[in-house]
C-alpha cells in the first residue's frame, strides 16, 4: 500500500483480512473517578459525590489478540482514560481511582500482587504527542530492554534495537545515525521511533493514544500502515479522533460517549449499520 493510497483510503477499503483471534484482555464493569483522593470508597458512593468526576461508567470491553481495536468518540468521552486503565497509567495521576476488573490473559491486572511496572512491560503504550527522550535514537529504543533486562549482552541489545526499528519501519531512515538525538527527527519519524521504543520491550498489547493527531497526512499514512503491520504480532488498541482512521486500521471499534461505552462491535458493522442512534449521530457528524 503506497502512501498516496493510504491517504486516499476511505471506508470502502477496510482491511478485514485477518480472522479475530482469541481473547487477550477483558474489562468488566470498569468505573474511573477523578478527584477522589485516597481511601477505599465504593463506586456507588463516589458516583453519588458531586465533587468527584465520574469519568468512566460501567464499561465492559473485550480485546482480542492480533487485532486492532479502536476507541472512538467525541472529546472528553473517556476513551483515553479507559485506554490508560489498561496498563494502569492512571496510577500516576493523583486522585484517580478505578473500580472493576481488568484481566490480561485471565490475570487481574489490578490485583494487589501485580506490579504495574511488570504489567507495563507487557502492555506498552504510545502517546499522542511523540515524546522521544532527549537521548540518542539507539538509547531511546534500548531504554525498555535495558530497564527490563531483556538483553544478555551488547550485541543482543543492538539486535533488539535493530529489529524494533525495522518493525517500526524507520530503520532505513535512521540506521546511519543511531547516535543522533531522537529529538532531531521529524514528527512522523519521532512517532515511529516511539513505536519502536514500545515494541522493543516485546509487549503483548500495544496501546496507542491518538498516535497520529500531531502528525501531518504523510506521516499519518506511514504510521497507519505500520499499525496494520503490527497486528501480525500484537494486539493493538488505538484511540482516535478520526473515524476514517478507525475504519482504515481497526477490526473492532468501540464508541464512547460521556463516559459510557455506547456500542462495541466489528468496525464495518459500526460504520455501516450502527445499532445505537447515538453512534449513528456521531458517525454522521451530528454529535462530536
Amino acid at each position: 500500500m503506497s502512501m498516496e493510497d493510504a491517504i486516499m483510503n476511505d471506508m470502502t477499503q477496510i482491511d478485514q483480512g485477518v480472522a479475530v483471534d482469541e481473547l487477550k484482555m477483558q474489562a468488566r464493569n470498569v468505573d474511573v473517578f477523578y478527584g477522589a483522593g485516597g481511601g477505599t470508597r465504593s463506586a456507588e458512593d463516589m458516583a453519588a459525590d458531586k465533587a468527584i468526576t465520574h469519568a468512566i461508567k460501567h464499561v465492559d470491553v473485550d480485546i482480542a489478540d492480533k487485532t486492532v481495536t479502536s476507541f472512538i468518540g467525541p472529546s472528553g468521552c473517556g476513551k483515553s482514560t479507559f485506554l490508560r486503565v489498561l496498563n494502569r497509567m492512571n496510577d500516576t495521576i493523583d486522585g484517580c481511582r478505578m473500580t472493576g476488573d481488568v484481566t490480561l490473559e485471565g490475570e487481574n491486572i489490578y490485583d494487589s500482587k501485580v506490579d504495574p511496572v511488570q504489567l507495563r512491560a507487557k502492555v506498552g503504550m504510545v502517546f499522542q504527542k511523540p515524546n522521544p527522550f532527549p537521548k540518542s535514537i539507539f538509547d531511546n529504543v534500548a531504554y525498555g530492554p535495558r530497564i527490563h533486562g531483556l538483553a544478555r549482552n551488547k550485541a543482543d541489545l543492538a539486535e533488539i534495537v535493530e529489529k524494533s526499528l525495522r518493525r517500526a519501519a524507520i530503520w532505513d531512515e535512521v540506521k546511519d545515525r543511531l547516535d543522533a538525538p531522537g529529538t532531531g527527527l521529524s514528527g512522523g519519524q519521532q512517532q515511529r521511533l516511539c513505536i519502536a521504543r514500545a515494541v522493543a520491550t516485546s509487549p503483548e498489547v500495544l496501546l496507542m493514544d491518538e498516535p497520529c493527531s500531531a502528525l501531518d497526512p504523510i506521516a499519518t499514512a506511514q504510521v497507519e500502515e505500520l499499525i496494520d503491520d503490527l497486528r501480525s504480532r500484537f494486539s493493538v488498541v488505538i484511540v482516535t479522533h478520526s473515524m476514517q482512521q478507525a475504519a482504515r486500521v481497526s477490526q473492532k471499534t468501540a464508541f464512547f460517549h460521556l463516559g459510557e461505552l455506547v456500542e462495541f462491535d466489528d468496525t464495518d458493522k459500526i460504520f455501516t449499520n450502527p445499532s445505537d442512534p447515538r453512534t449513528e449521530s456521531y458517525i454522521t457528524g451530528r454529535i462530536g
Binding site: D94, L119, I147, A198
Partner: protein
Amino acid sequence: MLWILITLLALGALGFVLGRQRAVASAGGDARILHSLPVYYGTNVTLLTLVPALLVLGVWLMAQPIVIDRVISAQLPDSYVAEAASRDLLMTEIRRLADGIDTAVERGAFNGRHALDLSVGDDIRQQLADAGVALGADVSPEVLQAAQSFREMSGAGRTWMTVAVFALAVAGLAYAYLRTNKDLRARNRVEYMILGVLMLASTLAILTTVGIVLSMLWDTRNFFQLYPWQDFFFGLEWRPSFEGNSELGLIPLLWGTLYISFIALLVAVPIGLFAAIFMAEYATKRVRSVAKPLIEVLAGIPTIVYGLFALITVGPMLRDYFAAPLGLGNSSSSVMTAGIVMGIMLIPFVSSLSDDIINAVPQSLRDGSYGLGATQSETVKQVVLPAALPGIVGAVLLAASRAIGETMIVVLGAGAAARLDLNPFEAMTTVTVKIVGQLTGDTDFSSPEALVAFALGLTLFVITLGLNIFALYIVRKYREQYE
C-alpha cells in the same frame, strides 16, 4: 539646606497653579479646547521648575566637599604635611576644626566676627570646649588658616549654590510659563520628561557595574605598581606585614576559597538535588506545602546567622567529636566547619532552582517512560535528570558562585590563616576573609597591604561574574528548549 528645598517646592507648586491658570485662560476658560488636560500644563511648569534645579542642587552638594577638600589639601605646605602623620589625618583635623567653629557660631558661643578673628594665641581648644565642642588636639597656625579658608570657601560655595539653584528654578518657571498656551502639547512634554527619568533610572544598573569595575580596576592598577603582578597571581605565600616586605600571594587564598566551596557543594548538591527530586516527583501536595517553605526558610536567614552558627555550634562540635579524636587538629574554625555550614545555606538555593527545572521537564517524557514499564526512580534517573541536566548544572554553578563570594560564614567559621593544606579540619582562609581583613580598621590606602584587597575583589568579581554569566546562559538555553 532645608529651606532651599522648601522654597523650591513652593516654587514648583506656584508654577503648577500659574501654568494651569494660564492654559485655561488661553482657552478662554473652556478646558475642552486645550490640547491636554489642564493638569498637564501645571505639571509641565512644575517639572521644568524643579527638575533642573534639583539636579544641580544634588550634584553641587556632592561635588562641593570634594572640590574644596582638594583645593585646601593642595594649599597645605608640603613641609607641614611631611611633619604631620599624613595628609588625610590633617584634612580630618581641619574639617573638624571648621565644623567646630561653625557649631560654636550656631550655638551662639562665638559671633561671626569673633570666629573670623580667632588666632592660635586664643587657646581655641578651650574656647571651643566651653562652647561644647571637643577637639582632639591643640590647633596649629597652619591648621587654623586652612580651616578658616575651608569655612570661607564652603560659605561662598553655599551662597553660589543657592543663587544658581534659584536662578535655574525661576528661569525654568518663567520659560515654561511663557510657553504655556492652549496649543502646547503639554501631555507629550510631561510624558517625555517622565520617560527620561525612567530611562535614567534603568541606566543605574549599568552605572553600578561600571562603578564596581572602575573602582576596583583603578586601585588594582595602583596595587600592581607597588607589587609585581606575577607575585600576586602565582605567589604561594600570604604574609602581609605593615613594615613592608609583605608576601601577598593569591594562591593560598584561592585554594582555601575553592576547598571550602567544594565542601559546601558536596553538602548542598546531593541534599538539595534529592530534596528537589522528592519535592517534585514524590511528595504529596500536603508534604510539599509544608516541607518546601521550611527548606526555603534556610535561604532567608542572613549569612551572619550561619556564621555565628558555625562559630558557636558546628565548629566546636566538629573539633570535639571529629578533629580532635582523629588527631586531625584542634581548631574549631576549619575548612570543614565553614564548608558544612555554607552547604546548609546553599541547600535551598540548589533545591528550589532544581525543583523549578525538574518541573519544567514535560510530563510527556515521564509518561513515555512509565508507559514502557520504568519505575519512578528509573524515570527520574534516566529520563528526567538527563533532560534537566543543563539546568541543574546551571543551578550548581550559581550555587558555586554564591559559595565563592560568601563572606560572613568564612569570616567566622574558616579562620584567618592562609595555608596550602589538604586537611579539612585545619583553619584556612579565603579571598573574602582577606578583603575584610585588609580593609577594616585603620587602613592606609597607599600601601600595597590595603590595595591588595582591591585586586582580590577584582579577582573575585571576575570569577563569580564568569560563573554567573555561564550559568545564566545555560539556564536560559535550557528554558528555551522546553518553551
